[in-house]
């Protein structure tokens, strides 16, 4: 709660700061967003039945003409279940400069590599706070680096450099997605099962110099937009290895989760074209990833993913009504060397269809529907939602997330995570 109060204090300090700056004729813009969310789990036989969270986000942008801007974004979270999640941090702090057709952003910023309306292969490298695996829209995390774009006629070149790659935040305790073992086979004594308890989570290579680079070329020719990308960096999701602590005598035995970060490279080509009101795209990516075997050795895992999709905005006679539709199909061509586990996040969307539908019925009332169907090791996720705006400042959203399928797939493995969601947002 203290952190949340500190965030409030920060926002008021920002307001005072803004007033001062404004008098000096710099253009500035401050957005404050406060939210209260609640996840109510429906299965009665579970440890965590309800998760409530307070959240505040503050974005301050200072602009000098069109050539220079400074952007600061702070986020404060108070989670009633997880102390690790409760924190306040500066998520973005960067300077942006525009000179002709050259744009530079230097500092801590969110790198979103994929440019598709749907899920792109390049999105595998984005950094998130994975407190929840399903709702990641507002969970993007910043990294220190440089983003640059330059346009030459119909060609846009992108160069993104992250100075020190920091993996996504994952949670092992007080989190409904964490399934920690309470007993394991003793590694040195075959056939012996020992009760265990988590002692610590340790990053085993935190000081390594891990930089990542993304080069992209976007060109338009004869109504077709083609984009070629190369990402060479690290996987945002760290590998987990359980290491028993033999030196501390304890029953149950203590263990550490050792986190290690491994390289990831993506070669990606996407092509899109407008056919009337339909935007149609195809994407093909070659992914050089790594895989932890059951013997906990790390081996290279190269595979390809082909994808096709379309999106469209439907307008109606009533100007308040519109519908946005995104449909995507993804198919991974695995190398068949490894059998991926249900909990392997990199492969959740490997072979699936994704449908996203947003329908605004009135200026105040809208509905959403998201579904993901995995056709390999069947898994299914469906989330209908409803959103109501009391005013431009206050909005409430409710939804029901439903997971089903085989235990071998992510969605089937987590069927106990069905929940009702309720979110209240206040923006000033």
């Amino acid at each position: 709660m203290m952190q949340f109060l500190r965030t409030l204090l920060l926002s008021f300090s920002c307001l005072i700061f803004c007033q001062t700056i404004y008098s000096q004729s710099l253009k500035l813009d401050l957005t404050n967003n406060f939210g209260l969310s609640n996840f109510q789990y429906l299965e009665s036989n579970r440890a965590i039945k309800n998760i409530a969270e307070l959240r505040s986000e503050h974005n301050l942008k200072l602009k000098y003409k069109t050539v220079l801007a400074a952007n600061f974004s702070a986020r404060g979270i108070y989670n009633y279940v997880n102390r690790e999640r409760s924190r306040m941090f500066l998520n973005e702090a960067y300077l942006a400069a525009n000179k002709g057709k050259l744009n530079l952003k230097l500092g801590k910023q969110i790198f979103k590599y994929g440019k598709l309306t749907g899920f792109s292969n390049l999105d595998l490298a984005n950094r998130y706070d994975y407190f929840d695996f399903l709702e990641t829209d507002q969970e993007e995390l910043g990294q220190w680096g440089l983003a640059s774009k330059i346009e030459i006629k119909n060609i846009q070149f992108d160069l993104n450099y992250v100075h020190k790659h920091v993996p996504s935040v994952v949670y092992f305790e007080d989190n409904p997605w964490a399934r920690l073992p309470n007993q394991i086979n003793h590694p040195n004594e075959p056939g012996v099962v020992v009760p265990v308890r988590l002692q610590d989570v340790v990053d085993i290579n935190p000081e390594e110099n891990r930089s990542s680079l993304n080069l992209g070329v976007n060109m338009e020719l004869l109504g077709v937009t083609a984009r070629l990308d190369y990402y060479n960096g690290y996987n945002d999701i760290p590998f987990r290895k359980i290491e028993l602590d033999y030196f501390t005598p304890s029953i149950p035995m203590l263990y550490d989760i050792q986190l290690s970060v491994h390289p990831l490279s993506i070669y990606n080509l996407s092509v899109q074209r407008l056919y009337g009101d339909w935007n149609i795209w195809v994407e093909f990516g070659f992914i050089k990833n790594n895989f932890t075997t059951s013997a906990e050795s790390v081996e290279s895992d190269n595979y390809s993913v082909a994808s096709a999709g379309l999106d469209r905005l439907f307008l109606f006679e009533d100007p308040a009504k519109f519908m946005k539709l995104v449909v995507q199909w993804r198919h991974a061509l695995w190398n068949n060397k490894f059998e991926y586990q249900a909990t392997d996040l990199d492969h959740v969307l490997d072979r699936c269809t994704i449908i996203d539908l947003d329908y605004q019925h009135t200026y105040d009332l809208s509905f959403g529907l998201r579904s993901v169907t995995s056709y390999d090791g069947f898994g299914f996720y469906l989330k209908p939602s409803v959103h109501y705006k009391f005013s431009d400042m206050v909005k409430i959203s409710g939804g029901y997330a439903m997971l089903s399928g085989n235990d071998s797939h992510f969605f089937g493995h987590y069927t106990a995570e069905d929940r009702l969601t309720l979110k209240l947002n206040f923006q000033i």
Binding site: N33, T66, V67, K149, E151, L274, N279, K395
Partner: protein, 265 residues
């Protein structure tokens, strides 16, 4: 008595001269004057629009607009609209690059996906950003397509508190348009459009445009309407636009009209 007669004669002569000067102006000359009054090199203003549905529901948005004449045609423009309020659409932007010979290019920047997406601007009858203004209306607003229409002056009328030339604009046979004709009222003093009625392809009155609060722009010879309403008479939906802080031909940075720029807004 002689003096009185002379004054009456002078009055009649002057009156006749003025009347003949007013009636001798042709529709094409009025349209040329209209185009000169609206022709700009660049423009920046703030604006707020209200969409009012037939049920009385209101949606309000505040924006900034930047317009810059480009070299893709005789009267073609780059047009950047950036939403500044409310917060849920803040920083959303549309960039339109007009072309003479081909369809306009248009990009939409959505802050959520942090990327600009090319969108279809090929259907001229589509509503622009949920307003009653169609892409064709927007294009005509930026520059009246004089070469695509035949204009006929049918008289003068009072529109609200101002006198206006009443002109019928009929599309030429090769012109691609959603309208069978437009009836224009051009202000006799400023040569700005004060009223326009749009007839659909079936000849039915479809939309009515009214411009009010015409004021000179400081430091320029231009005047601009500061309030515009566009009512769809078939659906009874209305868009009202309030303009402010006009800056005309004072310079707009050319680099703003690029996909890269709107992605760094």
């Amino acid at each position: 008595m002689k003096i009185k007669f002379a004054l009456i004669t002078l009055g009649v002569v002057l009156g006749t001269t003025i009347c003949s000067a007013q009636t001798s102006i042709t529709a094409d000359q009025i349209m040329d004057n209209y185009q000169s009054a609206t022709a700009i090199e660049n423009l920046h203003s703030t604006l707020a629009y209200k969409n009012i549905s037939k049920k009385g529901k209101v949606q309000e948005r505040k924006l900034e607009q930047y317009i810059l004449k480009n070299e893709n045609g005789e009267d073609t423009y780059n047009f950047l609209l950036r939403f500044v309020a409310p917060n849920d659409v803040k920083n959303t932007a549309t960039l339109t690059i007009q072309h003479d010979e081909k369809d306009d290019d248009q990009w939409l920047y959505l802050p959520v996906i942090r990327s600009a997406k090319k969108i279809s601007a090929s259907k001229k009858s589509d509503r622009f950003m949920g307003t009653e203004m169609s892409y064709e209306d927007l294009s005509n607003y930026l520059s009246e397509p004089i070469g695509d229409y035949d204009y006929e002056l049918v008289g003068q009328e009072q529109v609200l508190d101002r006198m206006a030339y009443n002109i019928i604009a009929t599309p030429k046979s090769k012109t691609k348009t959603q309208y069978s004709k437009r009836e224009l009222w051009i202000d006799t003093k400023t040569y700005l459009l004060t009223k326009c009625e749009f007839y659909n392809s079936k000849g039915k009155l479809n939309k009515r445009y009214i411009a009010k609060n015409i004021k000179p722009i400081k430091g320029t010879d231009y005047s601009r309407a500061h309030f515009v309403s566009l009512q769809n008479l078939l659906t009874n939906n209305t868009t009202e636009v309030y303009y402010d802080d006009f800056s005309i031909n004072k310079g707009v940075d050319k680099s703003m009209f690029s996909r890269s720029y709107i992605e760094t807004l």
